[in-house]
Symmetry: C2
Subunit: 134 residues, 2 copies
């Protein structure tokens, strides 16, 4: 797989900007948050476009769409699978600092499944939420 241009995808300003903004942050913004971020640069972009591109980019494996426990999906500019920390109170998602490479796919082909990828999510309460009473 080389970079991208082998089929027919065009690199629109919107797509470019969405990817750039997503890579710029260490947080794992929801589509809405990406929308807000990108809007500062392209005020006329639409939410639909943000969704379409986020979908496109994650389909390409350039970004990660995090399923997770919350209602909204979150997106990660770093496509390599790595463990996340999710706050069960405010919903924010951080990366784990210490890599903790999980026993990487120790059971490939487990139960007949193929092409396994592994998502790990630790769920807890983040310092900020733990601070302000219950």
């Amino acid at each position: 797989m080389n970079n991208a241009e082998h089929k027919g995808e065009r690199l629109s300003r919107q797509r470019e900007t969405i990817l750039a903004e997503l890579r710029k942050v260490t947080s794992h913004p929801t589509a809405d948050e990406v929308y807000v971020m990108v809007r500062k640069i392209l005020p006329r972009i639409s939410l639909g476009t943000v969704y379409r591109n986020l979908d496109f980019l994650s389909g390409k494996g350039v970004v990660l769409r995090l399923g997770g426990a919350g209602t909204q999906k979150r997106f990660d500019g770093n496509p390599a699978a790595h463990p996340h920390l999710r706050c069960s109170v405010c919903g924010r998602v951080d990366d784990l600092e210490h890599p903790l490479d999980l026993p990487d796919l120790p059971l490939k082909q487990s139960m007949g499944y193929s092409a396994l990828r592994c998502d790990v999510e630790f769920v807890g309460i983040c310092p900020m939420c733990a601070g302000k009473d219950s």
Copy 2:
């Protein structure tokens, strides 16, 4: 934590049946699927009630609400956190057979988070979907 009756919750036939049905299967049904299952026993139950009870039960820790990659949430009658296998094609979720106890919470308090729980989900293609062409 004893069983349940310490506050004021009543054990309705609906709640009881939902829990029983959920424990009966090894699959990880969506709310809709639970609705269908329970309807065979209580034909007049409403989807809203299924959602309310699933929510109640997961809040109590009696069942597990799986966030996961799909659109709909899935529920697991086994409340102990254990790794899952999700098919990226059909969306079905299986339990991993070999326990593979993950490096259990090796980083408790990581980054200031407290009360960590760990969700692990392997994403791949299940045998059935791998079989039938693309």
